[in-house]
């Protein structure tokens, strides 16, 4: 949950990158760490001890400076995507203010995307939150693989399967090159700050 100090005009909020294993959540954070140097306020902590698979979470702190008279700080987290780390996902999701769901565009990962979105939905319910109310952005990652001979799903199909009911903002991306990463982050931040404004009326 965001920490809002109206006296000192400070906001600290938490965004979580969610999605199936190997969909590119850590790669998103790595790109942000590299490309948004001015905003990065501390080192990226990446706890991956099983090859390059996230076992716990990645963490990256950002400082966005003054927005509407408030000093805005953001903590970015990723969750481990593997099914067996459900408990860790719940733990990392605790106190979340906004979510980026990183879906894998590869056709073979269709089912995994859907299962992971369902898992997010269930975990949010456990925390008393609703997937329809929390600030959420979908990212269709790995679009660059289209040119490499791998079958990928069309954006239309992904929209239909993942976003037909949610109707949240979505972006195509290639986290490796960074394409779409900034847009995804900006939109998620915008939605999150709007949601916090509706709740806490922090903006001057």
């Amino acid at each position: 949950m965001a920490v809002i100090n109206l006296r000192n005009r400070q906001i600290e909020c938490k965004l979580v990158f969610y999605g199936p294993g190997r969909s590119g959540k850590t790669t998103n954070l790595e790109y942000i760490h590299k490309a948004f140097k001015k905003q990065v306020t501390g080192k990226m902590i990446s706890i991956d001890t099983e090859g390059d698979r996230t076992l716990f979470f990645d963490f990256l702190p950002l400082g966005l400076g003054k927005i509407k008279g408030c000093d805005v700080k953001v903590q970015l987290y990723t969750v481990p995507g593997q099914v067996k780390y459900k408990a860790t996902r719940q733990l990392v999701l605790n106190g979340v203010d906004g979510i980026v769901f990183v879906a894998d565009s590869l056709a073979v990962r269709r089912e995994k995307n859907m299962l992971s979105l369902k898992d997010l939905h269930e975990n949010l319910i456990k925390m008393g939150l609703s997937i329809r109310k929390i600030p959420l952005v979908l990212q269709y990652n790995k679009r660059d693989l289209e040119g490499k001979g791998l079958p990928i799903m069309s954006l239309k199909k992904m929209q239909h399967e993942l976003n037909r009911q949610l109707k949240v903002p979505s972006f195509s991306a290639s986290a490796l090159s960074g394409a779409g990463v900034g847009n995804t982050l900006n939109q998620t931040l915008k939605l999150t700050l709007q949601s916090l404004q509706n709740e806490f009326k922090w903006a001057q």
Partner: protein, 305 residues
């Protein structure tokens, strides 16, 4: 698409999935190739292709088994542990000291048991946190399958009257349930309160080599965290005894009966090996040339390597 092209296409896909860490998908593609080749007789270098694909299937399966095996708990770096404590302590920031307990509980939740126990042990000194800290400590040991040690620790607390009566009842009830849920058969109510039960040892006395020295990290007190090496003065099977000079007051205060030493390096004339041990006694020698020194006895409960 002719068969050759199809195989090439599948192989390329499989390799790309493999390089992206999508091992299940890669495995499926390799198996599709194997199926195609097996069902076609007149294919050039058929045996060679089958052999190569079999190797790919084997190595991918190995990687998969490693990843899909049971969830393991891993001790992470100190900065990551600090982050877990700081960021996942969801308690009331206004309540003094509660964040320490919250941080320790966060470590427990992430499976950072050693660090969590270290933090929780400190909280045993505070009335406000003692009960919660003790429950979490017992839970950590049981989670790591150190049931016997958890029992001995509980008994030590009881013997030392760590808890006031109402808390003693609460912890006993909690611990009984914990043991039941873990499928243990220990009856803590029936155990003699003056006797500390030692954890079982996995080792037969005959298996143990003659040990000349033991090196381990001190678990508590003024020298906590320091590594020391002591010469073995006497050995009887899995029990080893060492002498600590009376002049080493800080060292004497840094180890006590009931401590579990999780990483001991044993030196013997034939080999060096490591294991776990339980401090079974520490007594002041009351006669002879070593009068005033301390005799420390460790029971070796497990050999690791």
């Amino acid at each position: 698409m002719d068969l050759g092209e199809k195989i090439k296409k599948y192989y390329k896909e499989a390799e790309l999935y493999n390089s992206h860490g999508l091992l299940t998908d890669a495995l499926e593609k390799y198996k599709s190739i194997e199926g195609l080749v097996k069902s076609t007789r007149n294919i050039q270098n058929r045996q060679g292709i089958l052999k190569q694909i079999a190797l790919k299937i084997e190595s991918t399966n190995k990687k998969l088994q490693k990843i899909e095996g049971p969830k393991t708990t891993t001790e992470v770096a100190e900065d990551a542990q600090s982050l877990m404590q700081e960021m996942f302590s969801f308690d009331d920031p206004e309540s003094k000291g509660s964040s320490v307990l919250g941080g320790a509980i966060a470590l427990v939740k992430f499976g950072q048991y050693d660090k969590a126990i270290e933090e929780l042990n400190r909280l045993l000194e505070y009335d406000k946190f003692r009960l919660d800290a003790a429950k979490k400590i017992l839970w950590c040991w049981v989670q790591q399958n150190y049931m016997e040690y958890a029992v001995s620790l509980y008994q030590k607390w009881r013997k030392n009257k760590l808890f006031p009566p109402e808390e003693a009842d609460a912890i006993q009830k909690y611990f009984n349930e914990l043991i039941d849920n873990a499928g243990g058969d220990q009856e803590i109510d029936e155990l003699e309160s003056q006797r500390t039960v030692e954890p079982d040892s996995e080792i037969d006395d005959d298996e143990i080599l003659d040990i000349s020295a033991a090196r381990f990290v001190l678990p508590r007190g003024p020298k906590e965290g320091e590594k020391i090496e002591l010469e073995i003065s006497f050995q009887s099977g899995k029990y080893i005894r060492m002498i600590i000079s009376r002049r080493e007051k800080n060292l004497i205060d840094s180890i006590n009966p009931g401590d579990l030493l999780k990483e001991i390096v044993f030196s013997s004339p034939a080999a060096i090996f490591s294991g776990e041990g339980y401090v079974s006694s520490k007594n002041e020698i009351d006669a002879g040339p070593k009068k005033g020194d301390y005799s420390l006895e460790i029971k070796i409960i497990k050999i690791i390597s």
